[in-house]
Every structure is written in C-alpha cells, then in structure tokens.
C-alpha cells in the first residue's frame, strides 16, 4: 500500500467538500501542534442531520484528504454518527499506509468536527 494512496492524491488535488459556508450552524477549528496545521469545518444541520458541510484550512495532503472523506461519509447523516467515527474509519476510506507520526493528520479533522457538534449540542 502506498503512503500517498490514489485516494489521498485525488482528494488533495480535487477535494469535493472544500470551501466555506455562508451562515453555518456550527463551526469548528483546531491546530495540530506537531506541524501547525489548521483545519476548519463548517456545517449546516436540519433535524439533527448534517445537510451540508465544508472544510478549509492550511494543511498537508493527508489531513486534507481525511477532512474530505470525513465530510463525504457524514453527508446527510445524523450528527451523532460523528461521535462514533474513529480515525480507523477514515483510514479504511483513505486506503493508505499512514505511519504513527502522521496519524494526528488523519485525526485532526475528526476532532474538529466532533468539537463543533459538541458545542452545538451544548448551545441547544
């Protein structure tokens, strides 16, 4: 298995869920202290489901691809599903041989999304 799988390269070059939303219901943002990478995720919710989500940030190809497949997996799904997701679920989708030193890159978008949705529930 390649370090940079065809999935990672494809998502890095042509992300499907990259961008910003106008009037998002939730926004999350965090930094990877290892490299200073920053990922932001915005989402709109209706009836407890993610109706639309976009990611943006300044990050490596692995974090970018992880963010993109995460938002694809979550599209139209109940927000509660985000809490059940693990880096392993993203790894499977990325089809890549990620070393332990880069697992934080995979996990970052997930913790950002989970943090954003947690905040939302508290606000309600």
């Amino acid at each position: 298995m390649a370090l940079y799988s065809s999935v990672i390269r494809d998502r890095f070059r042509r992300p499907r869920f990259h961008g910003m939303l106008e009037r998002p219901d939730v926004t999350g943002e965090d930094v990877n202290p290892l490299c200073g990478d920053r990922v932001r995720i915005q989402a709109r919710l209706a009836d407890g489901r993610l109706t639309e989500a976009r990611w943006s940030g300044d990050c490596c190809a692995i974090a970018a691809a992880a963010a993109d497949v995460l938002l694809e997996l979550m599209a139209g799904q109940p927000a509660a599903l985000a809490r059940e997701m693990t880096p392993a679920s993203l790894l499977e989708r990325l089809d890549a041989d990620i070393r332990p030193s880069r697992m934080k890159c995979v996990a970052l978008p997930l913790t950002v999304l989970q943090g954003a949705l947690d905040g939302q529930e508290v606000a309600r």
Binding site: L3, Y4, C35, D37, C59, C60, I62
Partner: protein, 405 residues
Amino acid sequence: MNMGEKTRRDFPILSRVVNGYPLAYLDSAASSQKPAQVIEAIQRYYETHHANVHRSIHTLGEEATELYESARDSVRAFIGARHREEIVFTRGTTEAINLVAQVIGRTLRPGDEIIVTEMEHHSNLIPWQMACRDHGAVIRAVPVLGDGYLDLDAYRRLLSARTKVVALAHVSNVLGTINPVAMMAEQAHQVGALVLADGAQSVPHLPLDVASLGVDFFAFSGHKMLGPTGIGVLYGRREVLGRLEPAWGGGEMIKEVWIDHAQWNDLPWRFEPGTPPIAGAVGLHAAIEYLGKLGMSQVSAHEQSLTAAAMEALARIPGVTLYGPRNPEMKGAVVAFNVEGIHPHDGAALLDQRGIAVRAGHHCAQPLMKRLGIAGTLRASFSVYSVAEDVARLADAVASLRSEL
C-alpha cells in the same frame, strides 16, 4: 577524494538502506550521525573504565575521573576558552540555556529587559520567557529582515540600561544566518548587559574562538557535532560564572555541608550536581578529536560548497522558494525551502520514500515562521560526511515532488 567521500566510511549508519534506497542523510542540523571512533570510545569506556567520577578512591574511579576531566580540557581547547573552569557539562544546549536563564532570572527586577531575536530556536526563547514571567521582566526581539539577516539598527535602538541579557543564535537553525555575535556582544556590554550565544548550529560547522567572540555564555550540544546525545556544554566567562549562584543543588556541587546550609564547590563543579554524563563526555571528546583531525576550516569549506550547490540546484526548480541569506559564505550548513503547493510534511514523507532524510515543519522556531508568513519549511542540512550525490538526489527528488502528489 573530498572530505565527504573519505569520512563516509567512518559512519556505519550511512550504509543503511531506507525504503529500498541508500540513505541520504540530510538532517544533520537536527542531529548528526556518529563515526565509529565515537561509538568505540563509548564502548571502550563502559567495558574498561566505568565508575562514578570524583568520589571513588579506586582505580576505575580515578580512570573515569581522568577521562571525564580530560574531555573538559578538549572542549576548552576546541572552542578557544581560556580556562577549564569555564566549561560546564550539561545534558545539552537546552539545559545549558535554562541553567543561565534560571540563575540570571533570579537577579531580574520588574522592568528589566531581555533581548532575543526573531530567529531563535524555542530553546533560546522559552527559558527567557519563563525567567521574565517569574520576575516581571520583559522580552524584546530583534526583527529579522527579508533577506534573513538581523535588523542591527533596530538592535542598537533596543539596547538600553534596562537590558540585562542579550540571548541570540550564533547560527540560525532555519535560515542558516551567521549572526555578527562579536559586534553585538560588544554593543551589549556597552550598556552593561550579559550576552549568551546559542552555538548549537555553529560549533559543529565553524572554527570557533569564544574568547574573541566576547560572549559571557555560549551553549552547545554534543549530538549535533558527531558526539552522543545527552551531553552538552555551557561555556561561561570565569569572571561572570564565578559570581553566580548555582542553579541546582545536589552532590558534587558543594564543598562542605551542614544540616541547614552548605558551601558551594569551585567552578565548574558548582554547576554540575549529581553524576554527570560521563560516557557522553568521553564520546564528545572522541568527536572533538575526529573534527580536530579534519580541521574545522576544512569542515566549514566542505559544507559551504555543498550548501552553495544545494541552493543553486534547488533555486532552478520551478515552484521552489529558498529562505535565508543567498550568500553561502554568510550561512551555516542548512538550506530551508518550500515547494509551491506541497506541505512540508508531505514533501519530507515523499523524499523519505526515496531514502532522503530531511527535516520538515517549524523547526522549533515558530516566531520566525510567523515572521516569514509560513507554517513550516523543508530543510536540508549537511555535515562532514555529506556528499555531492546527496545534493543531486535531493534536487532530483524535489523536482518531481509536485508530480507525485
């Protein structure tokens, strides 16, 4: 045969194969590799001479003490210090700077100022932040200009009677800039400030004479100069070191002890509580002998030619941005760069796939990254064993980075 081709045989690790390629180790600024002479000296020490130093009245204890103290003499001569009391062994550069910051910190008063530069490694910034926080002093930073040099006019304006310490890198671990330490130290002394230079990136690469640099303190690590990890050096000018209180207490740093007080030991042991890194000192001694045989002027010339070749080759690749001075004579043995559209960590991972080891990220210099407006860089760095082929392989691999991702 040039220096790199000759010395490579002494470094066992350089025969490793990484990801199917012969290792091209271009991360010596983070930590250098070790020649067999250093590895064997440490092994010989443990196999034949090891015991605790200074306190053991038996043959091995005397041998170990002799080896430890002769390592101090070799360091003294290597960096051009006048007295052996000026050489304090530490765990590394970071511990040496923390020692000074802690001891000097206790003398700071609210409103006092510490001057650093924007290109400092975190190890020459955070200890000063902590000292300032604890004693109400303030940090000021000399700005870095666009060409990678310090703004020396701004430095002169920052100096005042409030300045207690000027702490700066001798050579930047990112830009490679060789700072004019001697001149800056002279100016600092005119306002009564003490000067600490972080020599982690200069001692392994440049001929050095601390006495003529005129600094009060000079810190460096063994592991970046072909020696082992866990050993470093704090040079302190005798007149300054002699009037400072110890940083830490323990055995060996005292002359006589009562239940409620103690009398401090002489220099340099006053600053070396506990059992020191004896094997580390032995290994550092062997590393100094190895570098001494090569000659630091020759080491510097060898690395400068590789730095120049790397900058030239990388600058020709579309999308590559170089950071730091363009004149290789004004630089240490590092080249920091970015490739447009490629995150440094992706770049380093892809280079590793071809057996090329480079550093990526902020290089423990986040304020400098903020100044440059970037999150991080790739960084190739050189040592005595680096060869032109390493540079050629790096340039080839960098040229194809954008097509690989």
